[in-house]
Symmetry: C2
Subunit: 348 residues, 2 copies
């Protein structure tokens, strides 16, 4: 097809020529995220992580439903006007996104990239909207600290000590409405998806499930380098390059790897896991979980883009593709990172 040459850039990047609009985003978080430095940017801060539910898992479903409902309200859309919802989370068999799908009754595509799920969803929604396959797609993503801890490590009640390299799985959910340009009630200041760079699995042999930042940092660097290579853009073309949840241990490793590749990551290189919590909140190396980059984007970064504080942001959500079964069987922890370039139309 004639479009192919324009839409495929290099080996890993999808060029979203029509610039699908992020017409609305929404975030709902737990109490700890609300108390952090980004607290005032979130739409909903729940006072109790259980949200009145019988289990943490049901609370996570509820957070997801809240985020999608709110994003639709902001976009002045009924959920029935979405053509598809794309979503995922950390629970086994996508227990949050799948069950939340009962509430929207739209075509549903489950995706999983661990904590990179948010940008995987945005990338696919962007391609489906850009390609004319859907008018409006919802993207949802969540994690819940207590549900994740008991699934991946130990139940919270066990109160085991976490080493300093460990990160804190964020409690929260985010939703975005991605619309084809003709179907977007969007202005020139509406943040839009311009590129999506799909990540490769990079496994450097890290086996410590309490140091996921080190496991994911090489994948983050790999995807950022692929993005710059495929698009011909330079580091300085972005106001911010924000990794997902490398945290205070992983983020400097990614910076080192970029430096070795000839990039000079400056103060524009940030990390959602570092931004989300204050070090005084005792989260050790920072935030993590699918919600980490999702709510940081939906709360903080999107607003900065919409308000013109930044004009181009590369969001590089990062995922550690492991399970208790794999690490207990002695497997290493593969990392992955998917990137989306989000920018204002007046940047085009």
């Amino acid at each position: 097809m004639g479009a192919a040459a324009a839409r495929r850039l290099g080996r890993q990047t999808l060029s979203l020529e029509s610039r699908p609009a992020l017409v609305a985003v929404a975030s709902a978080v737990g109490p700890m995220e609300g108390q952090g430095p980004l607290g005032r940017f979130f739409d909903v801060v729940e006072p109790d992580g259980l949200l009145g539910q019988a289990s943490w898992e049901r609370a996570e479903v509820k957070l997801l439903e809240e985020a999608l409902d709110l994003a639709c309200r902001k976009a002045r859309l009924d959920k029935s006007e979405l053509d598809v919802v794309i979503g995922g989370d950390l629970l086994n068999q996508l227990g949050a996104a799948s069950f939340a799908a009962r509430s929207h009754d739209r075509a549903f595509l489950g995706v999983f990239g661990a904590c990179s799920t948010w940008t995987e969803g945005l990338a696919l929604a962007g391609a489906l909207a850009d390609g004319g396959y859907v008018r409006r797609a919802g993207v949802v993503c969540s994690s819940h600290h207590d549900a994740a801890e008991r699934q991946f490590r130990f139940p919270t009640e066990f109160a085991h000590q976490r080493p300093p390299t460990s990160t804190w799985t964020a409690t929260g959910a985010a939703a975005a409405i991605v619309a084809a340009p003709d179907d977007a009630p969007a202005s020139r200041s509406t943040p839009r998806l311009r590129y999506a760079t799909l990540g490769r699995v990079v496994d450097v042999g890290e086996k410590n499930p309490y140091d996921l930042g080190s496991a994911m940092a090489p994948a983050a660097a790999d995807t950022i380098l692929a993005h710059l290579r495929d698009t011909g853009r330079r580091w300085s073309d972005y106001d911010l390059v924000v990794t997902g949840d490398l945290g205070r241990v992983g983020h400097p490793i990614a910076a080192d790897l970029l430096s070795e590749a000839g990039i000079s990551p400056d103060e524009r290189f940030q990390d959602c896991g570092v931004l989300l919590y204050d070090p005084k909140q005792d989260v050790h190396a920072g935030g993590s979980g699918c919600a980490c980059s999702a709510v940081t984007f939906a709360g903080y970064l999107y607003r900065g883009l919409a308000e013109g504080r930044w004009r181009r942001v590369l969001l590089v959500s990062t995922g550690a593709l492991f399970s208790p079964t794999t690490y207990q069987q002695g497997e290493s922890i593969p990392g992955i990172a998917h990137a989306v370039a989000v920018e204002r139309e007046d940047e085009a």
Copy 2:
């Protein structure tokens, strides 16, 4: 985009106007699948379900790697010529597809729709190839009986009794190479993707994890009806309409639901879970698992299409979106089904 009107059909169907080619498929299965009625159609029948590995999970990774390697060889492609691999499986956090991704070093998108994962992957690969975002995509999907049993129910060694409504998770993996028309060494007999109908989550309140056919049947009927509605096609336009893994309990329920909607499902209505095993193999209600529809398609249905035995097949893989956590917490089991219409070019 001008293309939008043509590529979006109704509410749930993607119209793949360029008809991306399934240039090659491959299947690798365990011993029991090899002994079943479709045994001779599979490329590889492993004599031992462990494949010489230390665990069932590693055996599943190996099956996936074998299937992708073989599909690439059949397509005369090096794995490096794939732009993306899209895949998933039943293991927590996609433990098979994620770990197999270490072996191909390509951009990787994890997808999860339980046993509907195969058609979810084909649908997304089809859209990315049709839209010009990738030249060639690999789609991979797997399940392993023993790995699934111990994760979802009880370890095999426990030897618990399975009720008659239960199905048997298939051991196997399949891979497909989906190519944009300009990049396909394809002939007029090469099976092609024409439509993809994305399923909604349908939850009828079924709570029995030993009767997934009943939980998924309503979703299968819902997606088939959506497909016919969106495309304007009739039941008789297909030589076969094949559900994923409803089995001998769920498939008649889906047939009843279609009948109630005014469709008369005749002998063209089949089910991979019924086709894969002989009743004498003691699988109770039939086959299930991500591999069930994946290997039945890659082994049996694809060959029949390529040889002209059938010209149009609607494959409707079905998934039960549950986990032990959700059913132990008393949640019902949501079902989902994604459909792809596969046909020969001379059918266009």
